[in-house]
Protein backbone atom coordinates (compact mmCIF):
# COMPACT_ATOMS: atom_id res chain seq x y z
CA UNK A 1 0.00 0.00 0.00
CA UNK A 2 2.82 2.38 0.92
CA UNK A 3 4.41 1.82 -2.44
CA UNK A 4 1.24 2.66 -4.30
CA UNK A 5 0.81 5.82 -2.20
CA UNK A 6 4.39 6.74 -3.02
CA UNK A 7 3.74 6.20 -6.73
CA UNK A 8 0.64 8.36 -6.62
CA UNK A 9 2.26 11.17 -4.65
CA UNK A 10 5.21 11.20 -7.04
CA UNK A 11 2.86 11.15 -10.01
CA UNK A 12 0.87 14.09 -8.60
CA UNK A 13 4.05 16.03 -7.96
CA UNK A 14 5.17 15.46 -11.54
CA UNK A 15 1.78 16.73 -12.64
CA UNK A 16 2.79 20.26 -11.48
CA UNK A 17 -0.80 21.37 -10.89
CA UNK A 18 -0.38 20.74 -7.19
CA UNK A 19 2.86 22.71 -7.24
CA UNK A 20 1.06 25.64 -8.86
CA UNK A 21 -1.72 25.30 -6.27
CA UNK A 22 0.88 25.48 -3.50
CA UNK A 23 2.47 28.49 -5.10
CA UNK A 24 -0.91 30.18 -5.53
CA UNK A 25 -1.81 29.64 -1.88
CA UNK A 26 1.61 30.87 -0.79
CA UNK A 27 1.46 34.02 -2.90
CA UNK A 28 -2.08 34.75 -1.71
CA UNK A 29 -1.31 34.21 1.94
CA UNK A 30 1.97 36.10 2.02
CA UNK A 31 0.44 38.97 0.03
CA UNK A 32 -2.62 39.15 2.23
CA UNK A 33 -0.62 39.24 5.43
CA UNK A 34 1.97 41.73 4.25
CA UNK A 35 -0.57 44.09 2.64
CA UNK A 36 -2.95 44.34 5.57
CA UNK A 37 -1.75 46.25 8.59
CA UNK A 38 -3.31 43.92 11.11
CA UNK A 39 -3.31 40.17 10.91
CA UNK A 40 -7.03 39.87 11.68
CA UNK A 41 -7.93 41.43 8.35
CA UNK A 42 -5.48 39.11 6.64
CA UNK A 43 -7.10 36.15 8.34
CA UNK A 44 -10.49 37.32 7.11
CA UNK A 45 -9.32 37.39 3.52
CA UNK A 46 -7.70 34.01 3.94
CA UNK A 47 -10.90 32.69 5.43
CA UNK A 48 -12.57 33.22 2.07
CA UNK A 49 -9.66 31.55 0.30
CA UNK A 50 -9.91 28.54 2.55
CA UNK A 51 -13.67 28.31 2.26
CA UNK A 52 -13.80 28.74 -1.53
CA UNK A 53 -10.52 27.93 -3.25
CA UNK A 54 -9.45 24.99 -1.17
CA UNK A 55 -12.66 22.99 -1.64
CA UNK A 56 -12.82 23.88 -5.34
CA UNK A 57 -9.27 22.80 -6.12
CA UNK A 58 -9.54 19.71 -3.93
CA UNK A 59 -12.70 18.37 -5.52
CA UNK A 60 -11.94 19.26 -9.16
CA UNK A 61 -8.35 18.13 -9.11
CA UNK A 62 -9.19 14.84 -7.38
CA UNK A 63 -12.03 14.11 -9.77
CA UNK A 64 -9.94 14.77 -12.85
CA UNK A 65 -7.04 12.81 -11.44
CA UNK A 66 -9.26 9.82 -10.73
CA UNK A 67 -10.68 9.82 -14.27
CA UNK A 68 -7.27 10.25 -15.82
CA UNK A 69 -5.77 7.41 -13.85
CA UNK A 70 -8.48 4.92 -14.79
CA UNK A 71 -5.98 3.05 -16.96
CA UNK A 72 -3.47 3.00 -14.13
CA UNK A 73 -6.17 1.64 -11.83
CA UNK A 74 -7.02 -1.07 -14.36
CA UNK A 75 -3.35 -1.97 -14.60
CA UNK A 76 -3.10 -2.24 -10.83
CA UNK A 77 -6.23 -4.38 -10.75
CA UNK A 78 -4.57 -6.92 -12.96
CA UNK A 79 -2.00 -7.40 -10.21
CA UNK A 80 -2.76 -9.48 -7.12
CA UNK A 81 -3.79 -6.47 -5.04
CA UNK A 82 -7.06 -5.99 -3.19
CA UNK A 83 -9.45 -3.46 -4.72
CA UNK A 84 -10.01 -1.71 -1.40
CA UNK A 85 -6.26 -1.33 -0.98
CA UNK A 86 -5.96 0.45 -4.35
CA UNK A 87 -8.83 2.79 -3.51
CA UNK A 88 -7.39 3.56 -0.06
CA UNK A 89 -3.98 4.27 -1.56
CA UNK A 90 -5.47 6.62 -4.13
CA UNK A 91 -7.35 8.44 -1.38
CA UNK A 92 -4.31 8.76 0.83
CA UNK A 93 -2.06 9.77 -2.03
CA UNK A 94 -4.40 12.52 -3.16
CA UNK A 95 -5.31 13.88 0.26
CA UNK A 96 -1.74 13.75 1.54
CA UNK A 97 -0.38 15.72 -1.38
CA UNK A 98 -3.19 18.31 -1.28
CA UNK A 99 -3.00 18.70 2.50
CA UNK A 100 0.76 18.96 2.24
CA UNK A 101 0.54 21.75 -0.30
CA UNK A 102 -2.05 23.53 1.86
CA UNK A 103 0.27 23.38 4.86
CA UNK A 104 3.24 24.61 2.83
CA UNK A 105 1.28 27.28 0.94
CA UNK A 106 -1.09 28.67 3.54
CA UNK A 107 -0.13 27.01 6.81
CA UNK A 108 3.33 28.51 7.15
CA UNK A 109 2.28 32.14 6.69
CA UNK A 110 -0.75 31.62 8.94
CA UNK A 111 1.38 30.23 11.72
CA UNK A 112 3.98 32.96 11.25
CA UNK A 113 1.62 35.94 11.13
CA UNK A 114 -1.22 34.72 13.30
CA UNK A 115 0.08 32.19 15.75
CA UNK A 116 -2.40 31.24 18.44
CA UNK A 117 -5.76 29.62 18.48
CA UNK A 118 -7.26 31.41 15.45
CA UNK A 119 -4.38 30.40 13.20
CA UNK A 120 -4.35 26.87 14.51
CA UNK A 121 -8.10 26.54 14.06
CA UNK A 122 -7.78 27.85 10.51
CA UNK A 123 -5.11 25.30 9.72
CA UNK A 124 -7.14 22.44 11.16
CA UNK A 125 -10.26 23.55 9.29
CA UNK A 126 -8.31 23.89 6.03
CA UNK A 127 -6.86 20.41 6.38
CA UNK A 128 -10.25 18.87 7.21
CA UNK A 129 -11.98 20.65 4.34
CA UNK A 130 -9.33 19.44 1.89
CA UNK A 131 -9.89 15.86 2.99
CA UNK A 132 -13.69 16.24 2.93
CA UNK A 133 -13.68 17.43 -0.67
CA UNK A 134 -11.20 14.78 -1.81
CA UNK A 135 -13.56 12.25 -0.30
CA UNK A 136 -16.55 13.82 -2.07
CA UNK A 137 -14.60 13.65 -5.33
CA UNK A 138 -14.15 9.91 -4.82
CA UNK A 139 -17.87 9.50 -4.32
CA UNK A 140 -18.66 11.57 -7.40
CA UNK A 141 -16.25 9.80 -9.71
CA UNK A 142 -17.27 6.32 -8.67
CA UNK A 143 -20.91 7.09 -9.39
CA UNK A 144 -20.45 7.77 -13.06
CA UNK A 145 -18.11 6.59 -15.78
CA UNK A 146 -18.54 9.67 -17.89
CA UNK A 147 -15.75 12.12 -17.24
CA UNK A 148 -17.73 15.21 -18.24
CA UNK A 149 -20.59 14.14 -16.04
CA UNK A 150 -18.22 13.47 -13.15
CA UNK A 151 -16.53 16.85 -13.39
CA UNK A 152 -19.90 18.54 -13.73
CA UNK A 153 -21.04 16.78 -10.60
CA UNK A 154 -17.91 17.94 -8.77
CA UNK A 155 -18.53 21.54 -9.75
CA UNK A 156 -22.17 21.27 -8.73
CA UNK A 157 -21.21 19.79 -5.37
CA UNK A 158 -18.82 22.67 -4.77
CA UNK A 159 -21.41 25.24 -5.84
CA UNK A 160 -23.95 23.66 -3.57
CA UNK A 161 -21.79 23.66 -0.47
CA UNK A 162 -20.08 26.99 -1.09
CA UNK A 163 -23.05 29.03 -2.26
CA UNK A 164 -26.43 27.43 -2.62
CA UNK A 165 -26.57 25.90 0.83
CA UNK A 166 -26.15 29.31 2.48
CA UNK A 167 -28.82 30.75 0.23
CA UNK A 168 -31.20 27.96 1.22
CA UNK A 169 -30.42 28.49 4.89
CA UNK A 170 -31.05 32.23 4.56
CA UNK A 171 -34.36 31.48 2.86
CA UNK A 172 -35.31 29.01 5.59
CA UNK A 173 -34.30 31.48 8.29
CA UNK A 174 -36.70 34.08 7.00
CA UNK A 175 -39.49 31.60 6.33
CA UNK A 176 -39.24 30.28 9.88
CA UNK A 177 -38.43 33.60 11.54
CA UNK A 178 -41.38 33.27 13.92
CA UNK A 179 -40.16 30.04 15.43
CA UNK A 180 -37.35 29.44 17.92
CA UNK A 181 -34.95 27.87 15.48
CA UNK A 182 -31.59 28.91 16.96
CA UNK A 183 -30.78 25.49 18.33
CA UNK A 184 -31.94 23.76 15.18
CA UNK A 185 -29.55 25.98 13.23
CA UNK A 186 -26.62 24.48 15.11
CA UNK A 187 -27.75 21.12 13.76
CA UNK A 188 -28.16 22.46 10.23
CA UNK A 189 -24.56 23.66 10.12
CA UNK A 190 -23.51 20.03 10.48
CA UNK A 191 -25.00 19.43 7.02
CA UNK A 192 -22.37 21.57 5.35
CA UNK A 193 -18.68 21.07 6.08
CA UNK A 194 -17.82 24.56 4.80
CA UNK A 195 -20.29 26.20 7.18
CA UNK A 196 -19.03 24.10 10.02
CA UNK A 197 -15.47 25.20 9.37
CA UNK A 198 -16.52 28.82 8.96
CA UNK A 199 -18.33 28.94 12.28
CA UNK A 200 -15.43 27.29 14.09
CA UNK A 201 -13.15 30.06 12.83
CA UNK A 202 -15.70 32.85 13.37
CA UNK A 203 -16.03 32.00 17.02
CA UNK A 204 -12.39 32.90 17.37
CA UNK A 205 -12.39 35.92 15.02
CA UNK A 206 -15.60 37.73 15.92
CA UNK A 207 -15.85 36.77 19.51
CA UNK A 208 -17.49 40.04 20.61
CA UNK A 209 -20.37 39.77 18.16
CA UNK A 210 -20.72 36.09 18.85
CA UNK A 211 -21.47 36.88 22.47
CA UNK A 212 -24.83 38.30 21.39
CA UNK A 213 -27.96 36.25 22.00
CA UNK A 214 -27.94 33.94 19.00
CA UNK A 215 -24.19 33.95 18.84
CA UNK A 216 -24.14 32.86 22.45
CA UNK A 217 -26.02 29.71 21.50
CA UNK A 218 -23.37 28.85 18.92
CA UNK A 219 -20.70 29.90 21.37
CA UNK A 220 -22.18 27.67 24.05
CA UNK A 221 -22.01 24.80 21.66
CA UNK A 222 -19.02 25.35 19.39
CA UNK A 223 -17.02 27.41 21.85
CA UNK A 224 -16.64 24.67 24.41
CA UNK A 225 -14.00 22.02 24.15
CA UNK A 226 -16.68 19.38 23.76
CA UNK A 227 -18.31 21.40 20.97
CA UNK A 228 -15.04 21.70 19.08
CA UNK A 229 -14.48 17.96 19.45
CA UNK A 230 -18.01 17.23 18.20
CA UNK A 231 -17.55 19.62 15.27
CA UNK A 232 -14.35 17.88 14.26
CA UNK A 233 -16.00 14.47 14.64
CA UNK A 234 -18.72 15.68 12.26
CA UNK A 235 -16.03 16.90 9.86
CA UNK A 236 -14.39 13.50 10.15
CA UNK A 237 -17.72 11.86 9.31
CA UNK A 238 -17.85 14.08 6.24
CA UNK A 239 -14.53 12.56 5.23
CA UNK A 240 -15.34 8.99 6.20
CA UNK A 241 -18.91 8.56 4.97
CA UNK A 242 -18.54 9.59 1.30
CA UNK A 243 -15.33 7.64 1.04
CA UNK A 244 -16.86 4.58 2.64
CA UNK A 245 -19.78 4.67 0.20
CA UNK A 246 -17.40 5.11 -2.71
CA UNK A 247 -15.27 2.22 -1.45
CA UNK A 248 -18.26 -0.10 -1.37
CA UNK A 249 -19.24 0.95 -4.88
CA UNK A 250 -15.70 0.60 -6.17
CA UNK A 251 -15.36 -2.93 -4.82
CA UNK A 252 -18.37 -4.09 -6.85
CA UNK A 253 -17.87 -1.91 -9.84
CA UNK A 254 -17.46 -3.44 -13.27
CA UNK A 255 -14.56 -1.47 -14.66
Amino acid sequence: MNRIIKFIVLDILRNKIVLIYTLLLAVLSWAVFSLEDNSTKGLLTLLNVILLTVPLVSIIFSTIYLYNSSEFIELLLSQPIQRSRIWWSLFFGLSISLIFSFIIGAGIPILLYAPGDVGLMMLMVGISITAVFVSLAFLGSVLTRDKAKGIGMAILLWLFFALMFDGLVLFLLFQLADYPIEKMMVGITALNPIDLGRILILLHLDVSAMMGYTGAIFKDFFGTFLGIIIAFIVLFLWIALPFWVSLRKFKRKDL
Binding site: N48, L173, F174, A209, M211, G212
Partner: protein, 366 residues
Protein backbone atom coordinates in the same frame (compact mmCIF):
# COMPACT_ATOMS: atom_id res chain seq x y z
CA UNK B 1 -10.35 61.33 66.53
CA UNK B 2 -7.76 58.68 65.79
CA UNK B 3 -8.29 54.95 65.91
CA UNK B 4 -5.34 52.57 66.06
CA UNK B 5 -5.15 49.27 64.26
CA UNK B 6 -7.12 46.33 65.55
CA UNK B 7 -10.44 44.68 64.96
CA UNK B 8 -13.41 46.60 66.29
CA UNK B 9 -16.79 44.91 66.53
CA UNK B 10 -18.80 47.88 67.77
CA UNK B 11 -22.10 47.27 66.06
CA UNK B 12 -23.49 50.41 64.45
CA UNK B 13 -21.28 53.48 64.90
CA UNK B 14 -23.22 56.70 64.43
CA UNK B 15 -21.34 59.95 63.91
CA UNK B 16 -23.46 62.89 65.01
CA UNK B 17 -20.74 65.53 65.42
CA UNK B 18 -18.43 67.19 62.93
CA UNK B 19 -15.24 65.18 63.47
CA UNK B 20 -12.14 64.09 61.61
CA UNK B 21 -12.31 60.31 62.05
CA UNK B 22 -9.00 58.75 61.12
CA UNK B 23 -7.78 55.17 61.19
CA UNK B 24 -4.07 54.62 61.77
CA UNK B 25 -2.63 51.34 60.49
CA UNK B 26 -5.89 50.36 58.81
CA UNK B 27 -8.12 49.44 61.78
CA UNK B 28 -10.91 47.02 60.89
CA UNK B 29 -14.53 47.87 61.64
CA UNK B 30 -16.53 44.66 61.50
CA UNK B 31 -20.29 44.74 61.06
CA UNK B 32 -20.51 41.01 61.78
CA UNK B 33 -23.10 40.67 59.02
CA UNK B 34 -25.65 42.23 61.41
CA UNK B 35 -25.17 45.98 61.52
CA UNK B 36 -24.67 48.99 59.38
CA UNK B 37 -21.06 49.81 60.16
CA UNK B 38 -20.76 53.61 59.98
CA UNK B 39 -23.66 56.05 59.84
CA UNK B 40 -22.88 59.70 59.29
CA UNK B 41 -25.57 62.10 60.46
CA UNK B 42 -23.54 65.27 60.82
CA UNK B 43 -22.08 67.84 58.47
CA UNK B 44 -18.37 68.31 57.76
CA UNK B 45 -17.21 64.82 58.69
CA UNK B 46 -14.11 63.16 57.30
CA UNK B 47 -13.62 59.40 57.41
CA UNK B 48 -10.28 58.08 56.32
CA UNK B 49 -8.01 55.06 56.63
CA UNK B 50 -10.47 52.39 57.78
CA UNK B 51 -11.13 48.89 56.63
CA UNK B 52 -14.85 48.34 56.84
CA UNK B 53 -16.10 44.80 56.44
CA UNK B 54 -19.14 42.59 56.66
CA UNK B 55 -22.12 44.93 56.95
CA UNK B 56 -25.53 43.40 57.56
CA UNK B 57 -27.98 42.38 54.85
CA UNK B 58 -31.50 43.75 54.84
CA UNK B 59 -33.58 44.89 51.94
CA UNK B 60 -35.73 47.33 53.92
CA UNK B 61 -33.15 49.75 55.31
CA UNK B 62 -30.15 48.80 53.20
CA UNK B 63 -27.34 48.58 55.78
CA UNK B 64 -24.06 49.83 54.36
CA UNK B 65 -20.38 50.05 54.98
CA UNK B 66 -20.67 53.83 55.21
CA UNK B 67 -23.97 55.65 54.91
CA UNK B 68 -24.31 59.42 54.83
CA UNK B 69 -27.71 60.78 55.86
CA UNK B 70 -28.83 64.26 54.81
CA UNK B 71 -25.46 65.88 55.36
CA UNK B 72 -23.08 68.14 53.55
CA UNK B 73 -19.32 68.39 53.26
CA UNK B 74 -18.67 64.76 54.17
CA UNK B 75 -15.38 63.29 52.93
CA UNK B 76 -14.78 59.55 52.65
CA UNK B 77 -11.15 59.06 51.74
CA UNK B 78 -8.66 56.17 51.57
CA UNK B 79 -10.89 53.47 52.99
CA UNK B 80 -11.13 49.82 52.11
CA UNK B 81 -14.58 48.31 52.03
CA UNK B 82 -14.93 44.57 51.75
CA UNK B 83 -17.88 42.20 51.72
CA UNK B 84 -20.56 44.78 52.56
CA UNK B 85 -24.16 44.80 51.39
CA UNK B 86 -23.94 48.37 50.09
CA UNK B 87 -20.50 49.97 50.07
CA UNK B 88 -20.82 53.74 50.40
CA UNK B 89 -24.32 55.21 50.40
CA UNK B 90 -25.18 58.91 50.15
CA UNK B 91 -28.68 60.24 50.44
CA UNK B 92 -29.85 63.86 50.42
CA UNK B 93 -26.22 64.92 50.66
CA UNK B 94 -24.33 67.82 49.19
CA UNK B 95 -20.73 68.76 48.56
CA UNK B 96 -19.34 65.35 49.49
CA UNK B 97 -16.06 63.83 48.35
CA UNK B 98 -15.63 60.07 47.91
CA UNK B 99 -12.01 59.53 47.07
CA UNK B 100 -9.47 56.75 46.77
CA UNK B 101 -11.60 54.01 48.28
CA UNK B 102 -11.47 50.40 47.33
CA UNK B 103 -14.92 48.86 47.40
CA UNK B 104 -15.14 45.12 46.91
CA UNK B 105 -18.29 43.07 47.13
CA UNK B 106 -18.66 39.32 47.01
CA UNK B 107 -21.95 39.30 45.19
CA UNK B 108 -23.11 36.32 43.21
CA UNK B 109 -26.71 37.23 42.53
CA UNK B 110 -28.25 40.58 41.72
CA UNK B 111 -30.84 40.43 44.48
CA UNK B 112 -28.44 39.65 47.27
CA UNK B 113 -25.98 42.48 47.00
CA UNK B 114 -26.21 46.25 46.92
CA UNK B 115 -24.29 48.84 44.96
CA UNK B 116 -20.68 49.83 45.45
CA UNK B 117 -21.11 53.58 45.61
CA UNK B 118 -24.78 54.52 45.78
CA UNK B 119 -25.85 58.16 45.53
CA UNK B 120 -29.45 59.24 45.76
CA UNK B 121 -31.02 62.70 45.66
CA UNK B 122 -27.73 64.45 46.14
CA UNK B 123 -25.94 67.38 44.63
CA UNK B 124 -22.37 68.51 43.95
CA UNK B 125 -20.55 65.25 44.71
CA UNK B 126 -17.04 64.28 43.69
CA UNK B 127 -16.46 60.58 43.19
CA UNK B 128 -12.77 60.26 42.44
CA UNK B 129 -10.21 57.49 42.03
CA UNK B 130 -12.21 54.68 43.58
CA UNK B 131 -12.01 51.04 42.65
CA UNK B 132 -15.29 49.15 42.74
CA UNK B 133 -15.85 45.50 41.97
CA UNK B 134 -18.18 42.60 42.72
CA UNK B 135 -21.22 44.71 43.60
CA UNK B 136 -24.58 44.93 41.84
CA UNK B 137 -23.94 48.32 40.23
CA UNK B 138 -20.45 49.70 40.64
CA UNK B 139 -21.52 53.33 40.89
CA UNK B 140 -25.21 54.20 41.12
CA UNK B 141 -26.56 57.70 40.57
CA UNK B 142 -30.21 58.56 40.89
CA UNK B 143 -31.42 62.17 41.12
CA UNK B 144 -27.86 63.39 41.61
CA UNK B 145 -27.02 66.69 39.99
CA UNK B 146 -23.95 68.82 39.26
CA UNK B 147 -21.54 66.05 40.20
CA UNK B 148 -18.39 64.59 38.78
CA UNK B 149 -17.20 60.98 38.54
CA UNK B 150 -13.51 61.02 37.81
CA UNK B 151 -10.77 58.42 37.39
CA UNK B 152 -12.67 55.49 38.90
CA UNK B 153 -12.29 51.87 37.97
CA UNK B 154 -15.47 49.84 38.03
CA UNK B 155 -15.12 46.24 37.00
CA UNK B 156 -16.65 42.78 37.33
CA UNK B 157 -19.87 44.09 38.81
CA UNK B 158 -22.92 41.91 38.46
CA UNK B 159 -25.12 44.41 36.68
CA UNK B 160 -23.87 47.81 35.56
CA UNK B 161 -20.47 49.39 36.01
CA UNK B 162 -22.22 52.75 36.22
CA UNK B 163 -25.96 53.15 36.59
CA UNK B 164 -27.09 56.63 35.98
CA UNK B 165 -30.66 57.88 36.06
CA UNK B 166 -32.42 61.25 36.32
CA UNK B 167 -29.07 62.83 37.08
CA UNK B 168 -28.77 66.02 35.12
CA UNK B 169 -25.70 68.14 34.46
CA UNK B 170 -23.17 65.57 35.62
CA UNK B 171 -19.94 64.56 34.02
CA UNK B 172 -17.90 61.42 34.15
CA UNK B 173 -14.33 61.59 33.03
CA UNK B 174 -11.44 59.14 32.60
CA UNK B 175 -13.15 56.18 34.22
CA UNK B 176 -12.62 52.55 33.31
CA UNK B 177 -15.66 50.29 33.06
CA UNK B 178 -14.64 46.75 32.36
CA UNK B 179 -16.22 43.27 32.31
CA UNK B 180 -19.45 44.32 33.97
CA UNK B 181 -22.52 42.13 33.59
CA UNK B 182 -24.37 44.67 31.47
CA UNK B 183 -21.88 47.48 30.89
CA UNK B 184 -22.91 51.06 31.64
CA UNK B 185 -26.43 52.49 31.55
CA UNK B 186 -27.20 56.19 31.34
CA UNK B 187 -30.90 56.90 31.26
CA UNK B 188 -33.49 59.70 31.43
CA UNK B 189 -30.95 62.44 31.83
CA UNK B 190 -29.93 65.59 30.08
CA UNK B 191 -26.70 67.53 29.86
CA UNK B 192 -24.34 64.68 30.69
CA UNK B 193 -20.71 64.92 29.68
CA UNK B 194 -18.80 61.71 29.11
CA UNK B 195 -15.14 62.26 28.42
CA UNK B 196 -12.19 59.96 27.97
CA UNK B 197 -13.69 56.86 29.57
CA UNK B 198 -12.83 53.31 28.67
CA UNK B 199 -15.61 50.79 28.17
CA UNK B 200 -14.32 47.32 27.55
CA UNK B 201 -15.17 43.64 27.53
CA UNK B 202 -18.84 43.96 28.37
CA UNK B 203 -20.14 40.81 26.78
CA UNK B 204 -23.66 39.50 26.33
CA UNK B 205 -26.76 40.16 24.31
CA UNK B 206 -28.10 42.75 26.74
CA UNK B 207 -24.66 44.09 27.60
CA UNK B 208 -23.66 47.40 26.12
CA UNK B 209 -20.43 49.27 26.54
CA UNK B 210 -22.62 52.32 26.97
CA UNK B 211 -26.37 52.20 26.88
CA UNK B 212 -28.10 55.55 26.36
CA UNK B 213 -31.82 55.78 26.85
CA UNK B 214 -33.76 59.04 26.67
CA UNK B 215 -30.68 61.24 26.86
CA UNK B 216 -30.70 64.78 25.54
CA UNK B 217 -28.15 67.53 24.96
CA UNK B 218 -25.14 65.50 25.99
CA UNK B 219 -21.57 65.29 24.85
CA UNK B 220 -19.56 62.08 24.36
CA UNK B 221 -15.92 62.83 23.66
CA UNK B 222 -12.73 60.86 23.47
CA UNK B 223 -13.98 57.56 24.90
CA UNK B 224 -12.64 54.15 24.03
CA UNK B 225 -15.01 51.29 23.35
CA UNK B 226 -13.12 48.05 23.06
CA UNK B 227 -14.25 44.43 22.74
CA UNK B 228 -17.87 44.99 23.74
CA UNK B 229 -20.76 43.10 22.23
CA UNK B 230 -22.24 46.55 21.51
CA UNK B 231 -20.16 49.71 21.91
CA UNK B 232 -22.94 52.29 22.23
CA UNK B 233 -26.63 51.51 22.21
CA UNK B 234 -28.86 54.55 21.69
CA UNK B 235 -32.57 54.66 22.19
CA UNK B 236 -34.62 57.85 22.19
CA UNK B 237 -31.62 60.12 22.43
CA UNK B 238 -31.70 63.65 21.05
CA UNK B 239 -29.09 66.26 20.24
CA UNK B 240 -26.05 64.23 21.25
CA UNK B 241 -22.61 65.01 19.97
CA UNK B 242 -20.47 61.88 19.67
CA UNK B 243 -17.00 62.99 18.80
CA UNK B 244 -13.47 61.63 18.67
CA UNK B 245 -14.24 58.26 20.18
CA UNK B 246 -12.62 55.04 19.19
CA UNK B 247 -14.65 51.90 18.57
CA UNK B 248 -12.37 48.94 18.29
CA UNK B 249 -13.06 45.18 18.04
CA UNK B 250 -16.69 45.40 19.10
CA UNK B 251 -19.43 43.14 17.83
CA UNK B 252 -21.52 46.20 16.96
CA UNK B 253 -19.81 49.61 17.12
CA UNK B 254 -23.04 51.53 17.59
CA UNK B 255 -26.67 50.46 17.58
CA UNK B 256 -28.75 53.51 16.86
CA UNK B 257 -32.46 52.89 17.07
CA UNK B 258 -34.74 54.81 14.75
CA UNK B 259 -36.13 56.70 17.74
CA UNK B 260 -32.98 58.82 17.94
CA UNK B 261 -32.96 62.30 16.49
CA UNK B 262 -30.51 65.07 15.70
CA UNK B 263 -27.47 63.25 16.97
CA UNK B 264 -24.15 64.09 15.37
CA UNK B 265 -21.54 61.37 15.07
CA UNK B 266 -18.30 62.82 13.84
CA UNK B 267 -14.56 62.18 13.81
CA UNK B 268 -14.68 58.76 15.38
CA UNK B 269 -12.54 55.75 14.56
CA UNK B 270 -14.35 52.55 13.71
CA UNK B 271 -11.81 49.76 13.51
CA UNK B 272 -12.05 45.99 13.64
CA UNK B 273 -15.73 45.89 14.54
CA UNK B 274 -17.83 43.06 13.24
CA UNK B 275 -20.53 45.60 12.36
CA UNK B 276 -19.82 49.31 12.61
CA UNK B 277 -23.41 50.50 12.82
CA UNK B 278 -26.78 48.88 13.04
CA UNK B 279 -30.29 50.25 13.27
CA UNK B 280 -33.81 48.90 13.51
CA UNK B 281 -35.69 51.05 11.02
CA UNK B 282 -35.38 53.06 7.87
CA UNK B 283 -35.81 56.50 9.40
CA UNK B 284 -32.49 58.32 9.73
CA UNK B 285 -32.52 61.65 11.53
CA UNK B 286 -28.90 61.62 12.62
CA UNK B 287 -25.75 62.85 10.94
CA UNK B 288 -22.60 60.84 10.39
CA UNK B 289 -19.71 62.81 9.07
CA UNK B 290 -15.94 62.69 8.86
CA UNK B 291 -15.48 59.39 10.63
CA UNK B 292 -12.79 56.85 9.90
CA UNK B 293 -14.19 53.47 8.89
CA UNK B 294 -11.69 50.69 8.34
CA UNK B 295 -14.19 48.96 6.03
CA UNK B 296 -14.25 51.96 3.67
CA UNK B 297 -13.07 50.98 0.21
CA UNK B 298 -13.18 54.33 -1.58
CA UNK B 299 -10.37 56.44 -2.97
CA UNK B 300 -9.01 59.92 -2.55
CA UNK B 301 -7.97 61.43 -5.88
CA UNK B 302 -7.33 64.98 -4.75
CA UNK B 303 -5.36 63.81 -1.71
CA UNK B 304 -7.20 65.89 0.84
CA UNK B 305 -7.36 62.82 3.13
CA UNK B 306 -11.14 62.68 2.72
CA UNK B 307 -12.61 59.87 0.65
CA UNK B 308 -14.25 60.97 -2.61
CA UNK B 309 -17.02 58.41 -2.45
CA UNK B 310 -19.55 58.54 0.40
CA UNK B 311 -19.58 55.56 2.70
CA UNK B 312 -22.60 53.51 3.71
CA UNK B 313 -21.75 52.25 7.18
CA UNK B 314 -24.86 50.13 7.41
CA UNK B 315 -24.23 46.72 5.91
CA UNK B 316 -27.23 44.80 4.65
CA UNK B 317 -26.26 41.87 6.78
CA UNK B 318 -26.43 43.93 9.98
CA UNK B 319 -29.98 44.86 8.95
CA UNK B 320 -30.79 41.20 8.31
CA UNK B 321 -29.34 40.18 11.65
CA UNK B 322 -31.30 42.91 13.42
CA UNK B 323 -34.51 41.51 11.91
CA UNK B 324 -33.58 37.90 12.32
CA UNK B 325 -30.80 37.23 14.83
CA UNK B 326 -30.17 33.57 13.88
CA UNK B 327 -28.94 34.84 10.50
CA UNK B 328 -25.68 35.47 12.37
CA UNK B 329 -25.03 31.85 11.47
CA UNK B 330 -24.26 32.90 7.91
CA UNK B 331 -21.90 35.69 8.78
CA UNK B 332 -18.84 35.93 6.52
CA UNK B 333 -20.16 33.30 4.17
CA UNK B 334 -19.61 33.99 0.49
CA UNK B 335 -23.34 34.50 -0.13
CA UNK B 336 -23.52 37.22 2.47
CA UNK B 337 -20.37 38.91 1.18
CA UNK B 338 -21.95 39.06 -2.26
CA UNK B 339 -25.13 40.55 -0.83
CA UNK B 340 -23.14 43.13 1.09
CA UNK B 341 -21.08 44.12 -1.91
CA UNK B 342 -24.07 44.56 -4.20
CA UNK B 343 -25.92 46.51 -1.53
CA UNK B 344 -22.93 48.84 -1.15
CA UNK B 345 -23.18 49.79 -4.82
CA UNK B 346 -26.94 50.07 -4.96
CA UNK B 347 -28.62 50.46 -1.59
CA UNK B 348 -32.08 48.94 -1.83
CA UNK B 349 -32.88 47.48 1.57
CA UNK B 350 -30.78 49.81 3.68
CA UNK B 351 -31.79 53.47 4.01
CA UNK B 352 -29.85 55.37 1.35
CA UNK B 353 -29.49 58.49 3.49
CA UNK B 354 -27.60 56.52 6.11
CA UNK B 355 -24.34 57.84 4.82
CA UNK B 356 -21.01 59.38 5.72
CA UNK B 357 -20.42 62.04 3.07
CA UNK B 358 -16.81 62.66 4.02
CA UNK B 359 -15.21 59.47 5.34
CA UNK B 360 -11.61 59.90 6.39
CA UNK B 361 -8.86 57.97 4.64
CA UNK B 362 -6.68 57.60 7.72
CA UNK B 363 -7.55 56.85 11.29
CA UNK B 364 -7.47 59.72 13.74
CA UNK B 365 -4.90 59.80 16.48
CA UNK B 366 -7.08 59.36 19.55
Amino acid sequence: MQVYSGIYKEGNLIITKSIYFEGIGLPVLDGQKKYEVLSVKANSVTICGFKIIRSGYATLNDPCGIKVYDSHHVNVINNTLYDNFFGIYLQYSKFCIIQNNSVTGLGVEEQQIGNGIHCWKSDSLQITANHVSGHRDGIYFEFVTNSVIWRNISEKNIRYGLHFMFSNSDSYISNVFKSNGAGVAVMFTHKVKMFNNTFSENWGDAAYGLMLKEITDSYILGNHFTKNTTGIYMEGTNRLLVEKNSFDANGWGMKIQASCMDNVITQNNFTGNTFDISTNGTLVLNTFNSNYWDKYEGYDLNRNKVGDVPYHPLSIFSVLVEKNPPAMLLFRSFMVDLLDKSEKFMPSLTPDNFIDQSPLMHSLQL
